[in-house]
């Protein structure tokens, strides 16, 4: 059992390290989509400059 635990522990640390290094999340995001024509249509997608967002 101790050998099994040793392997399990090493695997767990390796998994944790990989998840942290690669920026993994446990749950995937629900990704939407904004079509290009909407993004380019007036009133649909507004560019950074249009919205005057930045200082």
């Amino acid at each position: 059992m101790r050998r099994l635990y040793l392997m399990f522990g090493i695997a767990t640390l390796a998994l944790y390290g990989t998840a942290s290094w690669r920026g993994w999340e446990l749950f995937a995001a629900k990704r939407g989509f904004v079509p290009a024509d909407v993004r380019q249509a007036p009133g649909g997608y507004r560019s950074y400059g249009f919205w005057r967002g930045g200082k």
């Binding site: 059992m1 101790r2 944790y16 993994w24 999340e25 989509f33 005057r52 967002g53 930045g54």
Partner: protein, 642 residues
């Protein structure tokens, strides 16, 4: 005066004292004990015929020991302590130098004289007490009793009338040392002997060929003097008592098998039959006897069975069964046991904890025994455990013995002796039953701590050095924009995410006793991918009768999973508390950041095994100790009563 010769005062035959220090000579011709009193000889009367013992030595044998000058056996003393007779052989090294070689139950102890420190008088000795013997060390009294000088041969170093009571105490010391306090016929110490257990070959002695003894040692078939049933004596050399397998009567093997206790049927059937042979720990043992013993606690009898095993070169061992649990028991040197405060003792670098004590009684016996066992024999027993080992101390007023038992799996016993049917189911947890994971547990606990430590280091490392900032920007709500309106929304400048992974969006808004809410969206400028999120920033503070307080934070963090590489823009649409002016806020976007829940999950995973193992061990040990004098469930009152 060595080499002194004279005539026997009884028969006139020549008697010679070969050693200057011997004071008694048994006349070879008439058997009189001739004492040397200065230059005169005195007749102390005739000694009895030699008691037939299983001795393999004889007067005149020569040997050598540890580089000392060669010796010769010049005297033999036979002492009867009531339940048996043993032989003491006097070794002469020439001149005035001599030592004893004690022979009992096939074992030999070499004992030489040593300077005697002050010791208690014989009447004040108690078994179990420790005595500092000076250079040899601290010894424990294992036996204190009187024996009768019944017979002898050759020369002896003291002048004692045959039949006299001799007082002595045997002591056990460190590293297998033995000592004997010889009080002679009085109560003050006469001589101290110190030595150790030896083998005949290391003494340079060769057992004498004794045809009669060999005939006896080959075993003999007799009939029970009580029931007439066949009585097979498997160890005639050493057997003192034999209990008939047919009627259970107890016979004295040293006195022509006369009946000591009459029975009509055997009291029990041992699991290992008498005469069965089996190999345990690499030695083939012969089962020659069995007994049932018990302790009674609060009116409840707790029995167990002991099987006596014999092997000529190894001597005797016990195979003990209690509630289906088995242990292999061998003698332990009392001098090597250190009893300490707190109900613990140490032996062979192991720490034993007290388990239980009681008055053990011999209830039934079957087969052969090397001592004068009797039904009803009673000793006080103390058991100490260090699974899979048990250290047991048994004592009465005259003797104390220690033994060490090792747990044996029942299947191993069954296999060794070829027993049928299969062993009984074990009841509960045995006193020294090893826990299944006893070997693994310490490693698992240790590794668990190591993994937890490494995990913490990794977490701190990733938290400080992990992730990379891909964008940072200050944003402000346009003047006149309404809360939650499209006019209030802002886009960040486009930024590039180079590696796939999560993104952390941290919004820091210096709100004061207020809040800001952000409806956010991460927009991939290249393919239009959209991840929406929202974030609350609220921070309140104040003071009341308990003092000052704060609630919330001026920073909110949100995470977007699995963001592919690309060019992105962040859209934030703020809302704020009506009537308050929204502050400017700061947005920081980091890629590939560690998450606390990974740390939590990994921590739980590496801790689960040791925790589960610990619970199992706790349950197992609880069951073990529930049968002891120190049950974990016992109330403190019970403990106090103990």
């Amino acid at each position: 005066m060595s080499g002194y010769s004279a005539s026997c005062p009884s028969c006139g035959a020549p008697v010679t004292f070969s050693l200057g220090t011997t004071l008694l000579k048994i006349c070879d011709h008439c058997g009189s004990a001739v004492a040397r009193k200065g230059v005169n000889l005195e007749d102390y009367g005739k000694v009895a015929q030699l008691i037939p013992t299983p001795s393999v030595l004889a007067l005149g044998l020569k040997g050598g020991y540890e580089g000392a000058p060669g010796f010769e056996l010049i005297g033999r003393l036979q002492v009867d302590h009531g339940t048996g007779t043993w032989d003491e052989w006097l070794l002469s090294f020439g001149g005035d130098s001599w030592a004893w070689l004690s022979e009992s139950q096939g074992q030999f102890h070499y004992m030489g004289q040593a300077p005697a420190p002050p010791v208690p008088a014989f009447e004040d000795l108690r078994v179990g007490q420790t005595i500092d013997l000076g250079p040899p060390g601290v010894f424990v009294v294992t036996e204190a009793r009187s024996g009768r000088f019944v017979s002898g041969q050759g020369e002896l170093p003291f002048a004692v009338v045959p039949g006299s009571e001799l007082h002595y105490a045997d002591l056990s010391g460190p590293q297998g040392q033995f000592a004997t306090l010889d009080y002679g016929t009085g109560s003050e110490l006469e001589t101290l002997y110190v030595g150790r257990k030896v083998a005949l070959d290391e003494m340079g002695l060769t057992p004498v060929r004794d045809d009669e003894r060999l005939a006896r040692a080959q075993g003999r078939s007799l009939s029970c003097t009580q029931c007439g049933g066949p009585l097979e004596v498997r160890c005639p050399d050493l057997t003192q008592r034999i209990a008939c397998a047919y009627c259970g009567s107890l016979l004295d093997a040293t006195k022509n098998y006369q009946v000591i206790a009459k029975l009509t049927q055997p009291p029990f059937q041992p699991d290992v039959p008498l005469g069965a042979r089996g190999t345990l720990f690499g030695v083939e043992w012969l089962c020659i006897g069995a007994m049932e013993r018990s302790v009674t606690v609060e009116g409840v009898r707790y029995p167990w069975r002991e099987h006596l095993l014999y092997e000529p070169a190894q001597g005797f061992r016990w195979l003990v069964e209690s509630k289906g649990h088995w242990s292999f028991v061998e003698p332990a040197n009392a001098g090597d046991v250190q009893e300490a405060v707190g109900n613990v003792c140490y032996h062979d670098a192991k720490r034993y904890k007290h388990f239980q004590s009681g008055e053990a009684v011999v209830d039934h016996v079957l087969g052969e025994f090397y001592w004068g066992v009797r039904q009803g024999d009673q000793v006080v027993s103390h058991d100490y455990v260090c699974p899979p080992y048990m250290l047991s101390r048994e004592s009465n007023d005259e003797e104390i013995t220690w033994s060490r038992g090792a747990y044996v799996e029942p299947a191993e016993v069954w296999k060794a002796f070829g027993l049928q049917p299969p062993p009984r189911e074990r009841q509960g947890v045995g006193a020294i039953q090893p826990w299944r994971w006893a070997q693994d547990a310490p490693k698992v606990y240790g590794w668990g701590l190591l993994f937890a430590g490494l995990l913490l280091v990794l977490f701190v490392g990733f938290s400080i050095f992990g992730g990379s900032v891909v964008h940072r920007q200050n944003l402000a709500v346009p003047v006149g924009a309404a809360s939650g309106s499209p006019e209030a929304a802002a886009f960040t400048a486009p930024f590039v995410v180079e590696r796939p992974g999560n993104l952390e969006v941290a919004i820091e808004a210096p709100v004061s006793n207020s809040w800001m809410y952000f409806a956010g969206a991460l927009i991939n400028d290249e393919d239009g991918g959209l991840d929406e999120f929202d974030a609350d920033v609220e921070y309140y503070f104040g003071s009341d009768s308990d003092g000052s307080w704060t609630e919330g934070s001026t920073t909110a963090r949100r995470y977007v999973a699995s963001v592919p590489p690309g060019r992105y823009t962040l859209r934030l649409e703020p809302q704020w508390e009506p009537g308050k002016k929204p502050p400017a806020y700061n947005v920081t976007v980091r890629s590939r950041v560690t998450r606390f829940y990974w740390f939590l999950l990994a921590g739980l995973a590496v801790a689960a095994w040791p925790l589960l193992l610990g619970l199992m061990q706790l349950r197992f040990e609880g069951a073990r100790w529930s049968e002891s004098d120190h049950s974990w469930s016992a109330s403190s009152d019970d403990e106090d009563e103990e």
